[in-house]
């Protein structure tokens, strides 16, 4: 879902850049308030894992492939703010070193995947986990939130495309949400598998919000 340069016009990419700068500043402040010792190497490991996992495109339907975004995965271990920062790190590395995602579009990509996908996904996961409860509930909640995070992020992308006049909203919305409903299944499966494994070996790595 990395938007390249050229898809968005200035009326869209400038505001999303500004929002993302503000959002990152906010995430830095909130992370500073909750940073635990173990989060330092964990942010590195999550960034490494998510970068690598994002390279692994899996076929979905109709000649389309998908790949993990990793937003909910990052947030389950690091919380919404450090999680969003990790996704941002990955996006920045991808944009500048690998030309994956445009420079003007970086603001929108951060907004879609680090804020909507990660922070939004985290809050949905917490809501669902409160309702379902237990370790199984954690995994199920994360899976559902992971799926939803991909779909909603793709809708945000569709809105940005529409605001830029690149594709009319009805067409963009249905096409993006439609294909990402399938890609989200892959996201949910991978997220659940990784969390299930870590919960078995290091359950203390699951992020607990500061009361």
């Amino acid at each position: 879902m990395h938007i390249p340069d050229g898809f968005l016009t200035a009326n869209t990419w400038i505001p999303t850049w500004l929002i993302s700068i503000g959002g990152i500043a906010y995430c830095l402040r909130r992370t500073y308030q909750v940073l635990k010792e173990r989060m330092i190497p964990l942010m590195g490991v999550m960034a490494a894992f998510i970068f690598a996992a994002q390279m692994l495109n899996f076929p979905v339907i109709g000649g389309t492939s998908g790949h993990l975004i990793g937003g909910v995965l990052a947030a389950v271990f690091l919380g919404p703010y450090a999680g969003a920062l990790v996704i941002t790190v990955v996006l920045v590395v991808q944009c500048f070193i690998f030309q994956d995602g445009g420079v003007t579009a970086l603001g929108a990509n951060v907004f879609n995947m680090a804020f909507i996908g990660t922070m939004g996904g985290y809050f949905l996961y917490r809501l669902l986990w409160k309702a379902i409860k237990g370790t199984k509930g954690l995994i199920i909640a994360a899976g559902i939130a992971a799926w939803a995070s991909v779909v909603v992020a793709s809708i945000a992308c569709a809105i940005e495309l529409a605001l830029s006049g690149t594709s009319p909203i009805k067409i963009a919305f249905l096409a993006m949400a439609g294909v990402h409903a399938f890609i989200g299944i892959g996201e949910a499966v991978i997220t659940c598998l990784v969390i299930a494994f870590v919960v078995k070996v290091r359950p203390d790595l699951i992020y607990e919000p500061v009361k």
Binding site: L28, T31, R38, V45, A47, I50, F58, G62, Q99, I171
Partner: protein, 97 residues
């Protein structure tokens, strides 16, 4: 986190990036396919605003595309790990002021 655990995580990531990524699906991803189908893919074919060292995850100058992809994967994974840790350390330093 213990050193072994950090190493395990990074090694798993490197394994995926080096050994698995060359075999990833070559099909276009969701956004790209939508762009193709709905006719706005060429809008993205603008001249790059900055020159990236490893465009599109293909390490330049390597004959084998598979090896070029593995190298790109390894580099990106290590850079991401380093950047993540450095960011966390910078944030932590902020705490002690």
């Amino acid at each position: 986190m213990k050193k072994n655990e950090i190493l395990f995580g990074v090694i798993v990531a490197l394994f995926l990036a080096i050994a698995v990524s060359p075999f990833a699906s070559p099909w276009p991803d969701g956004l790209e396919k939508v762009a193709e189908d709905k006719g706005f893919l060429e809008k993205g074919e603008v001249a790059p605003i900055l020159v990236s060292p490893v465009p599109d995850y293909v390490w330049p100058g390597i004959k084998s595309e598979r090896i070029a992809t593995s190298l790109a994967g390894a580099a990106g994974t290590l850079v991401s790990f380093t950047a993540g840790v450095i960011l966390a350390v910078i944030i932590k330093r902020g705490r002690s002021y």
